[in-house]
Structures are given as C-alpha cells and as structure tokens.
Symmetry: C2
Subunit: 211 residues, 2 copies
C-alpha cells in the first residue's frame, strides 16, 4: 500500500508524524511525504523541519491520502495545485484522511460536501464553510473519508485505519510496537474534560499555539 502524507509550511508536526509512525509499520507499505514544492517544511513553532521527499505529481494514485493541519492550513486551503491533486488522488484512493485542521483542506478541495467530519475542537464550526457536518468525535468515518480531531488524535485514527484495512490483529501489533498505552498525567485533553477556565482561555484567544 502507498500512503501519501501532505506537508506544507507551518503544519503541526505531530498531526503528520503520529499517523506516519503507525502506517509506516504496515508490512509492504511505502509512505511518501509529498508537497507542492518538495523540500524541508518548517513546522508551526519554527523549531523543526520535516522534509517532503516528493512533489505531489510524483505520487498520483496513493491508496491512502493524509492531510495534517496546523496554522499553515490557511494557505493550504488556497493552494490550487494541492486542491487539484487532492481531488484527483481522492478519485482513486481507498481512504482519504485528515488530522486536525487538515480536514478544512479536504473541505476546500470539495471532498467533504454533505459528509460528517471532524477537526481540531476550536475549528469545528469552520467545517460548515465546506458543506460538511461537524461531529465532535475523535475519529469520524463517512464512506471512505476518515477525519480525526486535534493533533494527537491522528494516532488513534491511524490505528483505526489499519484495523479496517488490514484487520484488528495488525493494528494491535503496531499499537504494542509503539507502546501506545497512553497514561496522560491529567485528564484535560478535550474541551469537555479540561478545567472550565482553561477551555475558556482557548475560546477567548481562539488559537492553537500558546504564546
């Protein structure tokens, strides 16, 4: 299977690297990091570059397309070459997927019309711009489109995707392989679970990156 993960400047690294770490373990799989312009892409914090090895048109028919999110999604939504490639790739893909605000890029390509989808919790209503129905769940499946909520949720999504494509056993093997037995020290990872003033701070500032 061939997985294409889209990179762009100011993406959120974990959106892409979480699912990569899962999908890249599937036997016989190739993962290619693609971009409109290949080369290093600086992530949202400015502290890290991930390298896109290939141009979009070098991977015309991936089995799985994955679009991460991050502040750079705003520019990505206006990248005509990317949107065109996404539409073409979706025409032949087995699965078209996104993490965080990557779903807004799928939406901009017209791939979420009439579909249930999710995104970063603060951006949920933005999905309506693209004719999608926002769903506040961690992983949402509608036909062959699988969307994940914010940042870290891509790990859960990728395990669910492996289970659907290759069976529960391989997904469990990979889960053990990455020792994914999460034990966060707090239970503050969703707007409903975090202390109210913390959720409120985010809503007031309406931003992802703290500064």
């Amino acid at each position: 299977m061939h997985v294409a993960i889209v990179l762009f400047d100011r993406l959120t690294a974990l959106d892409a690297v979480g699912p990569y770490e899962v999908l890249g373990q599937v036997p016989g799989t190739t993962v290619t990091f693609v971009a409109t312009e290949p080369g290093p892409k600086r992530t949202d914090t400015g502290f890290l570059s991930l390298v896109a090895d290939a141009a979009l048109d070098e991977v015309p028919e991936p089995d799985v397309v994955l679009v991460p999110g991050g502040p750079g999604q705003v520019q990505a939504e206006q990248d005509g070459a990317l949107l065109e490639w996404l539409r073409a790739a979706d025409a032949t893909s087995s699965w078209t997927t996104s993490v965080c605000t990557g779903s807004l890029v799928l939406g901009a390509a017209g791939l979420l019309r009439g579909k249930r989808a999710t995104t970063y919790w603060l951006a949920l209503e933005e999905l309506r711009r693209h004719g999608a129905e926002p769903v506040a769940e961690r992983v949402v499946v509608d036909a062959k489109v699988m969307t994940a909520a914010g940042v870290s949720s891509g790990i859960d999504m990728a395990l669910a995707l492996v289970a659907r494509m290759h069976g529960d056993e391989l997904a469990q093997m990979i889960q053990l392989g990455i020792e994914y037995d999460p034990q966060p020290p707090f239970d503050a990872g969703s707007p409903a679970k975090a202390p109210e003033h913390i959720t409120g701070w985010f809503r007031a500032h309406s931003r992802f990156v703290l500064d």
Copy 2:
C-alpha cells in the same frame, strides 16, 4: 527555557516529535534539534527526514536534554562526540531525559549509573549494561533524570515534565492544545495488555520495526 532534542540517523520519529509538540508550546521556550553533524536525519522506516538545525556544540548548556530512541541508538551509543556532549550538558541541565531506547544512549554516556530508569519494553534488561535499574513503568524519575518507555510514551513524559517545571495548569493547557484525549481502538499498548501471542511474537523476533 532551552530544550535540546538530539537527532541521529535511524531514530524513531515519534520519540522526538511527541515531546517536541508538548515542550515547544511552553511560553518563552526554544527547542533546538541538534546532532553531531547537522542536517537531515533519516528515520528508522526510511520514509521521513527530520532536520537537525544545529551542531551539538552550538547548544552547550540546554535546560532540558532529550534523547529519542530507535534502531540508530546502537550507533549513537558509540558516538564519542555525542556521549561527551551529553555528559557536559547533563552537568548543567535542569532535566536530562529520554524516550524509548534513548535511555541506552544516556546510559552509554554514564548518566544512569545507580539510577532507576525505563526504556522500550523489549529493551528493559539492556539498561543493566549501563548500571541502571530497569523499571517497567511509563515514565520514571530519578533525581533530575526522566526516562520514558517506548515511542508514544514521550508525550506523557513531556506533560509530566512541563507540570514539574511550570505547574499543572500549563501542562493541562498544552494537553488541551494538542487535544490529547487518547482513545486507542484497542487496549494492546503494553506487553501485559496485548494478546499473549502478539507479545510473544515480538519477544520471539525481538525487534521493533515490523517487516
């Protein structure tokens, strides 16, 4: 605060990127990806490069040192320049940390002697080579050394580290910021929880990357 994350060829990307995504959100923090030789480092799958922006000696006194793991740890344990830098950085760091088999690199630098530490579940006994006491827990703290278990555990470790350095509230904000409300589709992320034949397969093959 200045965080130095060490990169080397054949590292496991999520070991580094998970904690980066947490620590990079701490206000006023700089994260620098460092390596013996700066430049792109190919990860263990061969599918991705992360860029080390700086040479080790460009960041002589980081507040936090983080060493990821992966198959490249074998070479890293023999990289004299890296081990020397780790010893010097540890002399002034507030925290010296690792994810997965990165703890074996800390061990090779002599930084785990007599300490409780953890690592990737299949490598736990390897810690004894370096005079450390293996502990099968997700995050282990001994004095200012914090070690995490395999791959995905670095996210939990980084949240614990933020809480200790900057308080519980900031850790909770960052947890919500990365929407870390884990919902793995299976409960197979530790050797004790995975189906016995899956854990057994790993023990028999004694390897991390499936192929």
